[in-house]
């Protein structure tokens, strides 16, 4: 049986992790509404959303490859 791991430490707040000015610049482009939406979900729902997102990306990529092989452009449809 797996051994019982030690207890998790207390949650670290944003004050504890320090800040990198480069990363601060990247934050301007993050859609916080998506994060808030995700935080309202359960972990399982978040995982299912991730998997569905990947499936969607796969379909898009598959369609794009089909267009390339067929020599069609999306605007020809």
């Amino acid at each position: 049986m797996p051994r019982t791991p030690p207890p998790a430490p207390e949650t670290t707040s944003s004050e504890d992790i320090g800040r990198d000015p480069v990363i601060e610049v990247y934050k301007r482009d993050v859609d916080r509404s998506l994060l808030r939406e995700n935080l309202r979900l359960t972990p399982l729902e978040r995982l299912q959303k991730l998997t569905e997102h990947c499936e969607f990306l796969d379909r898009i990529r598959g369609a794009a490859r089909g267009v390339e092989r067929g020599g069609e452009r999306p605007s020809d449809a």
Partner: protein
């Protein structure tokens, strides 16, 4: 297509000791970025190597991106003589990591949270530790992910 939950379920069913790191861990904390591969840091204890090999063998693991036909054998000897494996499996891409910049199983397991997922519970590195690991990796491609993770901490603080 990566079936994230099915991969995790296979590891749990095999009693593999591991902690979830990487993009799927980020998603479980609320990150919105898409990621295909499941990244786990596994215990290098001998009994765990046996479990890891047995759990993944039915999934036909093979080095991701390698040409077909290599004499790759997924067994304890292979895992023992290696450390980190980036694999393609029947359930999707899986990175099984003996060590990552910033830690190994023994040093990370105390910085995890239990995450319930449809009948199973996995140990996911906590958000501050995930940020620390991303920073330790030092890859420019992680900058966007780091920004998102740090904002998640802000959002959690605000709740």
């Amino acid at each position: 297509m990566t079936r994230h939950l099915a991969l995790l379920r296979a590891l749990v069913a095999g009693d593999v000791r591991f902690v979830l790191v990487g993009g799927v861990a980020a998603a479980l904390h609320g990150a919105a970025r898409a990621t295909y591969d499941v990244d786990v840091v596994y215990s290098r204890d001998e009994d765990n190597l046996l479990r890891l090999v047995a759990a993944l063998r039915p999934l036909s693991p093979y080095p991701r991106g390698a040409p077909p036909g290599l004499p790759f054998v997924w067994d304890v000897r292979t895992v023992r003589s290696g450390l980190n494996f980036t694999l393609r499996t029947d359930l999707g891409d899986l990175d099984v990591l003996g060590q990552v910049p910033g830690g190994d199983y023994d040093s990370l397991v105390g910085h995890t949270v239990e995450t319930p997922l449809e009948g199973i519970t996995i140990r996911t590195v906590d958000l501050p530790t995930l940020i620390r690991l991303k920073r330790a990796a030092g890859r420019p491609k992680d900058f966007e992910a780091l920004a998102e993770l740090e904002l998640l901490i802000d959002e959690q603080d605000a709740r």
